[in-house]
């Protein structure tokens, strides 16, 4: 008797556990903040409180984090968390209603906008900075200062077999080329492939792809024949170990710089950076206050986090967009 009852109890427990595990297995994977999260908390002072969730582009992430740090100095009871799971990844979470802000290094795609609208989420777009997508090589690379977009395409197009610098230009040495770059979830990847290879997402795949731009920094800095690309701020932070290439988009070689990105002469790799805000969240005072703060202090935030600030014209437009969205 005892044995039989024990057996039944054991079977029941086993079944229970199995159900539990099976249930856990299905749900995991999307709801945690992937790719690293920066949370800055404070205490005391300020009259606003609440929690603002941001995620998205790893290029824009440092900008939003810098804005959040400054904002929290004034409003310590507002907690802003900034995830960096890539522009595409950020929009996926945004359109599921998980985040208030979505950082983006490219405009929202039509199909992403449709998913958002279907989920009842209205997105308001703000341009917050400019960027010069920067192509970098090793500091010891003394044979190249400028590449044309055609040469970049030859290196990066799908199926490209370029293995040595000599194949790019016969005057270059026969040094093995080691490629590093962002992963497929990245807006930088989307933008670069669109501008250089002519089709978004079209790229050779046999390079070291990482969503973490610091891996690209480590890689290019460690390989004499290394080449990689990412947002301008990652270059500015690592000027000691990397060398930025000038890009010839048809009108001569232009180096990536604040001025060239602002006036658009750094072609075709200068681009706008965005923050998308959920209309519903904008009604919350702390979210509106954060955006107003961000636009008021745009230049100092951009400079502190080594981004290319907006031009006066762009800034005026962003501010009027915010007024329109909040009905002020």
């Amino acid at each position: 008797m005892t044995n039989k009852r024990g057996t039944i109890t054991r079977i029941a427990l086993l079944c229970g556990l199995l159900v539990l595990f099976a249930g856990c297995g299905g749900g995991r994977g999307d709801d945690d903040e992937a790719g690293g999260t920066t949370a800055v908390a404070g205490t005391g002072g300020g009259d606003l409180s609440g929690r603002i969730q941001a995620d998205g582009s790893s290029t824009v992430g440092p900008y939003t984090t810098a804005a959040a740090e400054k904002f929290q100095a004034e409003q310590p009871n507002v907690q802003v968390t900034v995830g960096v799971s890539g522009t595409g990844g950020g929009f996926e979470r945004f359109c599921r209603g998980e985040t208030d802000l979505s950082n983006a290094s490219r405009p929202i795609k039509d199909e992403e906008a449709t998913i958002c609208t279907d989920a009842g989420i209205e997105a308001v777009e703000f341009q917050v900075a400019n960027d010069a997508l920067t192509v970098v090589v090793n500091k010891d690379n003394d044979w190249v200062d400028c590449l044309t977009t055609a040469q970049l395409k030859k290196i990066w197009e799908p199926g490209s077999k370029v293995k040595s610098w000599k194949e790019v230009d016969p005057s270059f040495p026969d040094e093995e080329m080691k490629l590093f770059g962002p992963g497929t979830d990245s807006g930088t990847f989307d933008y670069f492939t669109d501008e250089i290879n002519g089709e978004e997402g079209a790229s050779r795949s046999d390079y070291a792809a990482s969503e973490d731009d610091n891996t690209t920094v480590t890689g290019v800095a460690g390989e004499k024949g290394g080449l990689g690309y990412f947002g301008f701020s990652y270059f500015e932070e690592n000027q000691d170990t990397l060398k930025a290439l000038e890009i010839d988009g048809g009108d001569g070689c232009v180096a990536p710089s604040v001025a060239a990105a602002q006036d658009g002469t750094y072609k075709p790799l200068s681009r706008p950076l965005f923050i998308y805000v959920k209309q519903e969240s904008l009604a919350r005072p702390e979210v509106e206050a954060f955006l107003r703060f961000l636009l008021e202090n745009e230049t100092s935030i951009a400079e502190a986090s080594q981004f290319v600030p907006l031009t006066d014209e762009q800034l005026t437009k962003a501010k009027s967009d915010l007024d329109a969205a909040t009905g002020a």
Binding site: T2, R5, G6, T9, R10, L13, L14, L17, L18, L20, F21, A22, C24, G25, G26, G29, D30, A34, G35, S85, G86, G88, G89, G90, E92, R93, P158, K178, G183, T184, D185, G201, A202, S203, S205, D206, Y207, A208, A209, S210, E211, T215, T218, G219, A221, G222, E223, G226
Partner: protein, 304 residues
């Protein structure tokens, strides 16, 4: 014993407390079994869905792995070769060094050296693997370059070497336990026949302890196959079918970790690749362990 006292072998009342304890202990044993079953179910269901969309043959014979790119290619061989290569390098370091350390500790070291060396080995075993990862990237790779070996910044060689160092204490500690369990009589017998210390160590103790030594090797290999942090940081994330240890490659675990930390949409084919690779890894380790158990049984020497 006074006459008249009845000795009962069965309790008059049911002891409910005893039943409770019995069930609780049973649950403890079952949790490990249930966890394994749960993991297998959670791992293989999405993996089966994956093989509904990608043919098994393509998966195991394809030589290109680029599941996140357009067009997606699902040949897992580059990941398997990455894992096997780094595991081989690690084993080549860990096994001889570990076995040597074990022989020294068990046969040669005096109590004072032992008292110092064993805890030192255990400290090595306690270093977090992420520390080993950065050690490989920022120390081992530059060192190899200084020695004139032309390695990539991310490369299999330094990941494997450092992993070998990490696994050495496991081999040393388990092998030493096995050697310590070899009966004293065997050694004395050999000495009585005029054997030298080296002969006793290599011809008596090691063969007698071989099943424990093999077990330690297998455990180390399993750890190497499953090791994630070192390969993620130092080996690179570039799936490439290559057996050149100086080049960057990607191990299965590194792919799973990097893709899992990124943001592939749940339910998509990219998401399911994680499980397909995980299932492959699981089967690989399982086969390893089954082979190992066979080996251990075959060579076991019983002294009682």
């Amino acid at each position: 014993m006074t006459a008249g006292v009845e000795v009962r072998l069965h309790a008059r009342r049911r002891r409910y407390g005893e039943d409770v304890v019995k069930v609780l202990l049973g649950v403890c044993a079952l949790i490990s079994v249930a966890t394994t079953v749960g993991i297998v179910v959670a791992l293989f269901l999405p993996a089966f869905e994956f093989f509904g969309e990608v043919s098994v043959v393509d998966f195991f014979t394809g030589t290109e792995w680029a599941p996140l790119f357009e067009p997606a290619r699902f040949g897992v061989l580059p990941l398997i070769s990455g894992t096997l290569l780094v595991t081989s390098i690690a084993s080549l370091v860990a096994m001889p060094l570990g076995l040597g350390a074990a022989i020294y500790l068990s046969e040669y070291a005096g109590p004072r050296t032992r008292g110092f060396l064993k805890p030192a080995l255990e400290v090595l075993a306690g270093i977090p693997t992420i520390v080993f990862g950065y050690f490989a990237l920022t120390f081992m790779t530059p060192l190899l370059r200084d020695l004139g070996i032309q390695v990539d910044i991310f490369n299999t060689l330094s990941a494997g070497l450092v992993m070998g160092v990490m696994l050495m204490p496991i081999v040393a500690s388990l092998s030493e336990d096995a050697m310590a369990a070899v009966p004293r009589d065997l050694r004395d017998g050999a000495y009585a026949l005029g054997s030298t210390k080296l002969q006793v160590a290599t011809r008596i103790v090691v063969p007698a302890a071989v099943s424990g030594i093999v077990a330690s090797f297998v455990l180390a290999i399993s750890r190497a196959i499953g090791e994630t942090m070192i390969v993620l940081i130092a080996m690179g994330q570039q799936a490439k079918l290559t057996f050149d240890p100086r080049a960057a490659a990607e191990a299965m675990t590194a792919f799973i970790a990097a893709t899992g930390a990124g943001d592939v949409p749940t339910g998509s084919i990219e998401y399911k690749t994680i499980f397909a690779v995980g299932a492959t890894l699981f089967v690989l380790t399982l086969v390893m362990n089954v082979v190992a158990i066979r080996l251990v049984r075959k060579y076991r020497e019983v002294y009682e």
